[in-house]
Subunit: 350 residues, 2 copies
């Protein structure tokens, strides 16, 4: 169901060091070695190759600009790694603005002692995700902190992309009667990570849904233009938090049909085992769209034809009733208010 | 000598929490509270206030794009804090590309348990540096990691700025006969931090030189256009590393006169005490410029009239001799090759 990832064959070059040390963050000889022999060698492109303090790019008109830091633990998880997640996460934030993702920055904070082989695998994750999403790393930074002052590796990506000419994504454009869609099944990323943390990963084959989403959002904008009112990807805090925020920001009501929420059977079962509500579990390859009612069915049909959108569904509607609140309606007619996530059920999920 | 900083009176709002917890990174209720009552409240501007996954901006033509993570320890140091450093660092990378700094992203990785008062002081540092530099924070992110998995706070900023219309900054444009300038005295940031780490801060009044530099670079471009060949700010690795890289990249020689290197007396003395070579100590409010010989004196005169540039000086020349090497000439005629920094003398200086 996931978008086919570009899989690269990238054997690690022979190096005369096998762990990252403080010297690799010095700005001096070892930093240059790490950049020349590893980072620039793997991620090369015309802009990055200039190696100035910043990249020179050119835009004509409106762009989106976004940033995200990634601190997921463990760094390697079923279905991906922190490098892939960092690219997809920022690509998706751009997609949610109605933009065409183009250029990314990449900044590492490495804990001294990280194995070079692990750093390489993260970098290959970055490169594969960039290839799949058709974006470029154009500038970057590497810092190293002492052992015990970080946790293997943290990654920040920031991104820029031109707005799609037909995009008019804004919560203020949401109207009563609009339909609420999701592009795929809920809670997959969070449960893949939790299963691994709890040592349950061998009893199931749940993989993170990490993937780039503009292969779905851009065709929706091509086809339906400003009848697409709003996009949002429910990462930390889950779909429940995004629904609550959207109801609050629009001062309209949202009603969701529990029976229409797509969820993989194994994921649903693990949510029960772990005592987690899938509405609050993080997703990394899923978005919510609010669209005009007359295009809702067509939008779902369009998504279902594409990789990563096969399980797209209409899950609810925007209403004038219960303004500012999102309500979940169960199969047997029960109703409950969806609240924002309180506290933290899954720290460091992204 | 430093540029007059905008000093804001920003008392911390009354909050019902006094430390940052994992819940503040959840994406849920506590994250919203921290953003609404603290971050957005303090840093507000039209773009940030939209609170979407990314900011929508508009550019017409070439821009520079850059990123930097800041892990300086301690977070508060004489003359500044990590928030101020993070803004100035990225503003300066844009300035070094010949750009007019405009828009910044701001991403925090906070260690659980950070005192809210400290977080507030970092944020005020961000706001003051933005006000001084006349740039805006337009998008951001906050993650929290468990105690012992970070170190108080790490900050990433990325930035975008339109290129100055007369800018043509590229090491390939450097020619034999060009003059090498610096905008101020060496090694001040690194020594301020080292003095604090060594408990020597009460015996001197050395402050970090952290400041934005486009108030100097843009007038140089206005006045001298493409006779300005190259800018570079010697942060980690110091001026020595930047000179070495420039000689390597151009395959020209650079000769520096030791007697012409500006350095504060106290800084020079502390370098001796601490056994550090000022050529390799980090700077955060200083740049090297390479300019055509006919404008070198005028460029220095222009910088000296401005805050932050009063100690600007010509320190050497580009030569056809010793291609690929930077040479330091002492007052009594001795010559030594400047090498790139080996190892790490000052970890986490920025």
């Amino acid at each position: 169901m996931k978008k086919t990832k570009v899989q690269l064959h990238c054997p690690m070059p022979k190096l005369d060091f096998d762990i990252i040390t403080l010297g690799h963050g010095s700005g001096g000889v070892l930093t240059n070695k790490l950049l020349d022999e590893v980072v620039f060698e793997l991620l090369q492109n015309d802009t990055l190759d200039k190696r100035h303090d910043g990249a020179t790019l050119s835009y004509d008109g409106p762009v989106a600009f976004t940033t995200d830091s990634f601190v997921v633990s463990p760094v390697f998880f079923p279905g991906g790694n922190i490098g892939e997640l960092a690219v997809n996460g920022t690509v998706n934030d751009l997609a949610m603005c109605g933009a065409i993702p183009q250029h990314l920055s990449l900044a590492f904070i490495v804990e001294e002692g990280l194995k070079m082989a692990e750093f390489w695998d993260v970098l290959v994750g970055v490169k594969e995700a960039c290839a799949t999403a058709e974006v470029k790393i154009v500038t970057g930074d590497t810092k190293v902190v002492e052992r015990g002052k970080g946790d293997k590796i943290f990654v920040n990506t920031s991104g820029i992309g031109q707005l799609h000419p037909k995009a008019a994504i804004a919560s203020q454009r949401i109207q009563p009667g609009d339909k609420v869609l999701v592009s795929g099944p809920l809670a997959t990323h969070g449960i893949a990570i939790m299963a691994q943390r709890e040592g349950l990963e061998f009893e199931n084959n749940i993989e993170s849904d990490t993937q780039s989403l503009h292969h779905l959002t851009l065709p929706l904008l091509d086809e339906f233009g400003d009848q697409v009112r709003f996009f949002r990807d429910p990462t930390r805090g889950g779909l429940g938090t995004v629904l609550t925020e959207t109801a609050r920001d629009t001062q309209l009501g949202i009603t969701i049909e529990q029976a229409d929420l797509p969820i993989q059977e194994q994921v649903g079962a693990l949510c029960e085992v772990l005592g987690l509500d899938p509405l609050y579990v993080a997703n990394e390859g899923l978005f919510m769209a609010v669209v005009a009612p007359e295009v809702a069915e067509k939008a779902v049909a369009l998504m279902r034809q594409r990789e990563g959108g096969q399980k797209a569904a209409i899950i609810g509607s925007v209403t004038e009733e219960h303004p500012g609140k999102a309500i979940l309606r169960s199969g047997i007619g029960g109703r409950r208010v969806i609240n924002m996530l309180v506290g933290e059920q899954l720290p460091r999920i992204c």
